[in-house]
């Protein structure tokens, strides 16, 4: 075998464990879900094997699923916007801090050491009727009766922001950290104010990081079901909750498969659009 042929084979040999894992753990299960989506659930809860388009017809034509999907995208968009507004200044502060950057990044990662469910449930102890906020306000005499703050769409968004903010900060930080600070100095020396230097130089250069963080927050936010379950009211369901109900409560795996694929296609389309215009490289940097 020639040296060129050996060199051409080498990356594939090195990649083969990862490719095998992706094939077995992602594509094969996905294929199962695709197959399942064409089966039918019978009255007893058993599945009828075959090729039926009923689930897809229901998922694509029923206004109920469309409305919940649109509401899910709305919640994910608001969450992403909130993460961007709160995350950018934090990332800027970390990127420009001298000496204690590592500690600040460690602090940013700290929440990941605690279970997502526990972090979500912690809001019950903070915002609940007997929670820390109401207790403090009543102790200070600011309110007489506890305020009902939990179990609505706002608390769902709050829980999602709490969960997703570190992803945004990390992505923006990676982007800001790669910008040469001399560029801002150069802008200042040419007469720009600090604000003008930021808006004309730093912000445009950091947009890829902001977009990568936004994409991550949006996709993760749109796919969540724990947060609305724990912090939402009776009607605050997201699309993933429909998948959960179809599969778990109604034992309708075929319909659940069709719904999950529907969500996958919508979110996959967003990722493709992002990749088309901005490329995946920035996202990889943020995740790394």
């Amino acid at each position: 075998m020639s040296v060129e042929a050996r060199e051409a084979r080498q990356p594939w040999i090195l990649l083969s464990p990862a490719l095998t894992a992706v094939a077995l753990l992602l594509f094969v299960p996905l294929l199962f879900i695709v197959v399942y989506s064409f089966w039918l659930r019978t009255a007893t809860g058993a599945d009828e094997v075959g090729f039926f388009l009923d689930n897809w017809q229901e998922a694509l034509t029923d206004a109920f699923y469309r409305d919940i999907l649109l509401n899910t995208l709305k919640i994910a968009a608001i969450t992403t916007l909130a993460c961007a507004v709160m995350g950018y200044p934090a990332a800027y502060f970390i990127a420009r801090s001298k000496g204690n950057k590592a500690i600040l990044l460690l602090l940013l990662m700290l929440p990941f050491w605690i279970s997502y469910i526990i972090r979500t449930m912690s809001w019950i102890n903070i915002l609940g009727v007997s929670g820390a906020f109401n207790t403090a306000m009543m102790a200070l005499g600011i309110i007489d009766e506890p305020i009902q703050m939990l179990y609505n769409e706002v608390t769902v968004i709050l829980g999602l922001v709490h969960f997703l903010l570190p992803f945004m900060v990390l992505n923006v930080f990676v982007s800001l950290d790669g910008i040469d600070t001399n560029l801002e100095d150069a802008a200042n020396s040419l007469g720009a104010t600090r604000w003008q230097a930021f808006t004309n130089v730093t912000l445009p250069l950091s947009l890829p990081g902001l977009a990568a963080g936004g994409l991550l927050c949006f996709v993760l936010g749109a796919g969540t079901y724990i947060t609305p379950l724990v912090l939402g009211g009776p009607t605050d369901a997201m699309f993933a909750n429909l998948v959960f109900e179809a599969i778990i409560t109604q034992l309708n795996w075929p319909l659940g498969s069709a719904l999950s694929l529907m969500l996958l296609v919508v979110l996959g389309a967003l990722v493709l659009i992002y990749n088309r215009y901005l490329g995946m490289a920035q996202l990889m940097k943020g995740l790394g």
Partner: protein, 384 residues
């Protein structure tokens, strides 16, 4: 006295002989290789040979105080007595668990603490039932006959479970905000009372929602004639509710933290709250939701080990201790067994053992409507 030698001891002795120079390296490695070969050859058939020497049984239940009571009073003593390890898992509801069982390999799940005869029938209809050898469960004789008979009817006179306890899903209310008199006056309709808007909750279980909707619209829960009126009541409850709860722990938290004033709740969990000192009242309205729980053996399980565990769990001393821990009356017949002092004080307890005062869900009726109603509830729940 002779002591049975296990494989570890055999290996250690062999290694010792080798280290002492009693056996050469080639011989040592040869014997290890032969042992490996023998193990490899017999492994595919080991499950048949080991059928009677089960080391572990998996049990799944409702978690919280129920699991704690079972672990402390049944599983740990059983393990100490038989050497069979009982691994216990939890679930939030029967639907969720059925989905897990459906996705599992045969034999992965063994015994489940199922609620209601309708669940028993669903598992049977999905081909997940077994046939228990009742000769191996002599303690079944102490169980209330009515509780056993309803299961027999579903599985052609045979049993795939043993009844274990019973209880009710009644109305739980905070006495600080709702008086006993108001509860008596309003009954199930308090859950759709505008006066308590935002302070009402309910279980996110479609059966319970429709059962209470039937009571609120003056219908027989086992024969709802005006289904649309019942759905309207479900919608009314939804619009007044702060939250649907999904587990016993969440139910207790919502009441204990005073996030809500009234909900329907599981009798044992409410009793646990009362024991903790919370001033929570509990009332079973007329035709309130009664249920009986069973220990269901799932297809593919090691039958003799499961039967041994079930018999151990049904022994009066074990069953009474578990019942006192989980706050649900045991399935034991009070006419045959002295149930002690605490059990007669538990909600839903029937001293006659006839259970005439409780209304149970008709499995044929509820399972016949399951597909349509569970789906409709999914929509109504979300504002439709």
């Amino acid at each position: 006295m002779t002591r049975k030698m296990d494989n570890t001891t055999r290996y250690e002795r062999l290694r010792e002989r080798y280290m002492n120079g009693d056996i050469d390296r080639r011989g040592f490695l040869g014997l290890i290789g032969a042992a490996g070969l023998a193990y490899g050859v017999q492994t595919p058939f080991a499950k048949y040979a080991n059928a009677q020497t089960v080391a572990q049984v998996r049990f799944d239940g409702w978690g919280g105080v129920v699991s704690e009571a079972l672990r402390e009073n049944a599983f740990d003593p059983f393990q100490a007595e038989t050497g069979i390890d009982v691994v216990d898992g939890t679930f939030g509801g029967g639907d969720e668990y059925l989905s897990r069982v459906k996705a599992s390999q045969e034999g992965e799940y063994n015994i489940a603490h199922l609620s209601g005869v309708f669940d028993y029938a669903r598992y049977h209809n999905l081909g997940l039932s077994t046939v228990l050898n009742e000769d191996n469960i002599p303690n079944l004789q102490y169980v209330i006959p009515k509780l056993v008979d309803v299961f027999r009817k579903v599985t052609d006179g045979k049993l795939s479970c043993v009844p274990y306890d019973y209880g009710t899903t009644g109305l739980a209310y905070n006495r600080k905000y709702i008086s006993d008199e108001e509860m008596q006056e309003k009954g199930a309709k308090i859950l759709i009372d505008e006066a308590h808007k935002g302070k009402i909750a309910g279980w996110s279980d479609w059966r319970t929602r429709l059962w209470y909707a039937a009571l609120q619209t003056g219908q027989d829960p086992n024969n709802i004639e005006d289904v649309e009126a019942a759905w309207e009541a479900v919608r009314a409850h939804r619009d007044l509710s702060l939250k649907y709860w999904g587990s016993g722990a969440e139910l207790m938290s919502l009441l204990a933290e005073e996030e809500i004033h009234v909900t329907e709740g599981w009798s044992g969990r409410i009793y646990a709250l009362q024991e903790q000192g919370h001033d929570i009242g509990y009332m079973d309205p007329p035709n309130g939701f009664g249920w009986q729980e069973c220990m269901f053996v799932i297809k593919g399980s090691p039958m003799e080990a499961c039967e041994e565990l079930l018999n151990f769990m049904l022994a009066p001393e074990t069953s009474i201790a578990v019942a006192e821990g989980q706050n649900y009356p045991p399935a034991l017949d009070p006419q045959k067994v002295d149930l002690g002092d605490k059990i007669p004080t538990l909600p839903a307890f029937d001293p006659t053992g006839k259970l005439d005062g409780l209304t149970f869900a008709d499995p044929a009726y509820w399972n016949g409507n399951e597909q349509e109603w569970s789906k409709t509830f999914g929509r109504v729940q979300k504002g439709y």
